[in-house]
Amino acid sequence: MKVGVVTFPGSLDDHDAARAVRAAGAESVALWHADADLHGVDAVILPGGFSYGDYLRCGAISRFAPVMTSIIEEANNGMPVLGICNGFQVLCESHLLPGALTRNQGLHFLCTDQLLRIENTNTAWTSSFSPGAEIVIPLKNGEGSYQCDDATLEMLEKDGRVIARYLGQDPNGSRNRIAGISNARGNVVGLMPHPEHAIDSLTGPSANGLSFFTSVLTQMVGK
């Protein structure tokens, strides 16, 4: 079971994402932004960071990296793809997910342990959670405010595509307190907070994040 983790120039959390993949029991494979070859991976993670320095818009330039051409094609064929933070921004810029992430409402860069509720446990990346599970994982971003038009918001809510929602104080002004969404098929998930930083209680606020990575393994074994 191989899970690829992409490194763009400016990625920061690729090593933690790879560590989380290994902790879940899979093999992590390093993928390079300039290499369109996915090296036979079964799933892909786009990690957090500031790819291409966030120039132009977050994720706007990464979207055109050679590796993204292959990932977009495979994602449309059903391969599980998880975008965390900057990876979520890349997925929106790639139009694999609707909407966009904009500057936090309070303008501050946030770095906090965030309470979330898992709203949909039927996606490739959330199936190991119990329905309605409340979890605490780190949230750290400057542009994490999820925005979309009213029709898209209604569609996401109606189809159960909001996969995680912020609880407690609203951190960044996201519409309907959205922390993560999926595509219609449930194989592509974007999440603003960082599960890869919460896979054991020694280094994170909880071990709640590990379930995102075990979910995709269960999904692949089930095939």
Binding site: A60, G99, A100, T102, Q147
Partner: protein, 81 residues
């Protein structure tokens, strides 16, 4: 040589916290004229010779593809004399 200018602005319905922060700072500095401020981006693209309609169309395609994100932003293309 001609200069093609692409202006990109957040759509009116999208919250602009940066513009709001600037709007809040102006009166603190004694500038009391602004009812509101919104911040955008301006791209200046130089080309050889006078631009043809086909070139302007190509710039518009580039603006829609990469310079702007049509989900949250509007753009305009013009030639600056």
């Amino acid at each position: 040589m001609a200069k093609i200018v692409v202006d990109v602005m957040l759509k009116p319905e999208i919250l602009d916290p940066q513009g709001q922060a600037i709007g809040a700072a102006l009166p603190r500095l004694g500038f009391s004229f602004a009812k509101s401020v919104r911040q955008g981006k301006r791209f200046e693209i130089e080309i050889e010779g006078e631009p043809t309609q086909a070139q302007l169309d190509e710039v518009a395609r580039a603006a829609e593809t990469v310079l702007a994100n049509p989900v949250i932003e509007n753009f305009s293309v013009r030639v600056e004399k």
